[in-house]
Amino acid sequence: MYEILKKEILAPTIKKIKVKAPLIARKTEPGNFIILRVDEKGERIPLTVADHDDETGEVTIIFQEVGYSTKLLGSLEKGDYIHDIVGPLGHHIDMEGYKKVVLLGGGSGTALLYPKVKGFYEMGAEVITITGARTKNLVILEEELNNYSDRFFITTDDGSYGHHGFVTDVLEDLLDKEDDIDLVVAIGPVPMMRAVADMTEEYDIETIVSLNSIMVDGTGMCGACRVTIGGETKFTCVDGPAFDGHKVDFEELMNRLSFYQDEEALAEETEEEVNE
């Protein structure tokens, strides 16, 4: 059992929790994820570690409530317990040797972007961060990202805050004007990552995307998270979650992510009936 030490609501559906998990905290590096199970009947859900503290043994998780299990997680308060947490899983991102990096986060993907922004900044790279949200009150981690970025841009789809438009608008502008960008990192909804990868391919700039495939065990045992990378099948959990954005079969990824839509709806309906 893992106690929730702190909880913060970053945006209406985006929450941040801190849990005590010393074994995981001391091993985590940017890009790693954990799998948790809220209670005995819960699903195993993969979530990226947003931050960690080796000394206090605390792990920070930021997540968006998208379905039954994440809503249940979001309903927990300080002092409540999470039944199981396992990790750190997946490969961390290799950050060495980059001079100028553009990092883009879309929606709750921004939370997953944060440890990478911090990591590259601490490695001494020039960091340009672009975060995009649908509307102003969904913009998260503004201050934290700004602290670790040399340049920082916000975009909103409806123009209620920052630049009116998409993260790719800002990226295109940068790519046109600056020819010394040596890495682009994009984390967010699949269409956003795909748009970024398509754009950077034209400029021939290395691009890393972080995939959010469906998983069960997260240790390479089930293969639910398989993705096609450059024509080869890979497991997101052990081979990723970060991959070369120019090689990902996004079409297949989108399709695979939609497989349990009906069941997810059913789980939420059932829960509503129980609560009524």
């Binding site: 074994l23 995981i24 091993k27 199970r37 009947k41 819960g42 699903e43 195993r44 039954y68 299990s69 039944h83 199981d84 947490i85 396992v86 990790g87 750190p88 899983l89 069960v216 065990d217 240790t219 390479g220 045992m221 089930c222 293969g223 639910a224 398989r226 993705v227 096609t228 099948t233 052990v238 297949e252 399709n255 695979r256 939609s258 497989f259 349990y260 069941e263 997810e264 059913l266 789980a267 059932t270």
Partner: protein, 470 residues
């Protein structure tokens, strides 16, 4: 009294009923059945059956105790060698082991050793007399080893057995398990109707009673490393991480929605209890037409599970003929009784989709040619014999290999090209103080072979530390 030529039958749930539930299929022996069967044992002096048992259970002795009506004693006799009798009585391939060597079996059916083992284990579990007594536990204790720390990686059959024996020697044992529950393949792989999870729970409780500490949610190679274990005061490590990496066919369409590895399918249903969805929150999607590719026990488990999830047509697609299927006869028979349709001598070559979902599987017919290296006749495709099978779900059960997560993250641990850990005949690896056994060494095999390896490794770890500290 004339010897009965056939095994005392064991009652089974009616196939028409049992495809609608997850209850166990064979119902077990009654006290009378057990005594009748025990009387068939010839009590041979040379005990060939014991040689067929990977953990050397004193078979004639426990059967004699059953015959004498002392089922508690029978259990103690079994437990002196086997830490998981209720599991083995259900899932061991006795027909290839103890029962194959039974003298009765030369002219008649062998003694139903497996059924008797199950009877003894269940009888004692039901009455709470299955736990080893303090005296029994302490008789193997070695003062020099008392309190020394030993780590076991993986809470499957190999790890549980090694841990139990190490604890009996006096070690302070901790098992590190990656999943959120114990049992390994007993929990995530073998379905409830073949091995009720309450039985696994009971057996694991028995091992905890020996003083074994179990830490769940710890992925060796990630959360902790073997170097860290030694730094933390552990003096020996046993690796029993099994063969958990699913094989795929590498044919077009394998990443369509509706294609599962057997591991994923069975893990969802067994470990995550998707058959109780939406009470349990992990879904599994099985519609009406399911093909399971493969001919082993895992394929039979997947096919029979699919029937229970409500699929009308469930096919086994296997590239060889029935007599070459690696699955146990009993499992194949049960699958047939439950309406599973066998499409033998057929090999899938592509899966075709519609709107991203499985729609059809293209198969090619096979015929048997010359014998190959496995001694089985090699299947050869019949030209222009392609045909289409209408489906909505495909489950791939063509085998598993060892998961590289731990070996990749452990320095100087030598492995085979296919991922297995290399050991000597004492199950010692290339790293001092590190032993390995079960599927991670042999490739996917049986529960009992893994248990035999766990036992052997525990004994060698004991010898290693006794010699080291001389």
């Amino acid at each position: 009294m004339a010897l009965k030529p056939k095994k005392t039958p064991m009652k089974e749930q009616d196939p028409k009923e049992r495809v609608k539930n997850y209850d166990e299929v064979p119902e077990g022996y009654s006290d009378e059945d057990a005594v009748l069967e025990a009387e068939r044992c010839l009590q041979c002096k040379h005990q060939p059956c014991v040689d067929g048992c990977p953990v050397s259970v004193p078979i004639p002795q426990f059967i004699q105790a059953v015959k004498d009506g002392d089922v508690v004693k029978a259990n103690q006799i079994i437990k002196s060698k086997n830490n998981l009798p209720a599991v083995c009585g259900r899932v061991c391939p006795q027909e290839e082991q103890c029962e194959q060597l039974c003298v009765m079996g030369i002219k008649n059916e062998p003694v139903a050793i497996g059924r008797l083992e199950r009877y003894v284990a269940d009888y004692n579990m039901k009455r709470g007399t299955d736990k080893a007594s303090k005296k029994e536990v302490e008789k193997d204790r070695i003062p020099e080893l008392e309190g020394k720390k030993a780590a076991v990686i993986g809470a499957g059959p190999a790890g549980l057995t090694a841990a139990a024996d190490l604890a009996k020697y006096g070690f302070n044992v901790t098992i590190f398990e990656a999943l959120h529950d114990t049992g390994g393949v007993l929990r995530y792989g073998i379905p409830e109707f073949r091995l009720p999870k309450a039985i696994v729970d009971e057996e694991v409780e028995g091992i905890k009673d020996l003083g074994v500490n179990i830490q769940l949610n710890v992925v060796a190679g990630k959360t902790i490393t073997i170097d860290e274990l030694f730094a933390d005061g552990y003096e020996a490590v046993f690796i029993g991480t099994g063969a958990g990496l699913p094989k795929f066919m590498n044919i077009p369409g394998e990443n369509l929605n509706g294609v599962y590895s057997a591991n994923e399918f069975l893990t969802r249903v067994n470990l995550m209890k998707a058959y109780k969805y939406p009470e349990y929150k992990t879904p599994v999607k099985v519609q009406n037409k399911v093909a399971v590719v493969g001919g082993g026990n895992v394929a039979m488990d997947a096919a029979r599970t699919a029937r229970r999830l409500g699929a009308e047509k469930v096919y086994i697609v296997y590239r060889r003929a029935e007599e070459q299927m690696p699955g146990r006869d009993e499992e194949i028979e049960h699958a047939k009784e439950e309406g599973v349709i066998f499409k033998l001598l057929n090999n899938p070559i592509a899966i075709h989709g519609k709107n991203g979902m499985v729609d059809k599987m293209e198969c090619i017919q096979m015929e048997l040619g010359e014998k190959d290296s496995s001694g089985r006749r090699r299947p050869i495709p019949v030209e222009d014999s392609n045909w289409m099978l209408d489906l909505d779900t495909v489950i791939i059960a063509i085998g598993q290999s060892p998961n590289p997560m731990l070996t990749k993250n452990t320095k100087d641990l030598e492995t085979e090209s296919w991922g297995g850990i290399i050991t000597d005949e004492n199950l010692k690896t290339s790293r001092e103080g590190v032993y390995a056994g079960g599927d991670v060494v042999t490739g996917a095999a049986t529960v009992i072979k893994a248990m035999g390896a766990g036992k052997k490794a525990a004994e060698n770890i004991k010898e290693y530390l006794l010699n080291k500290n001389k």
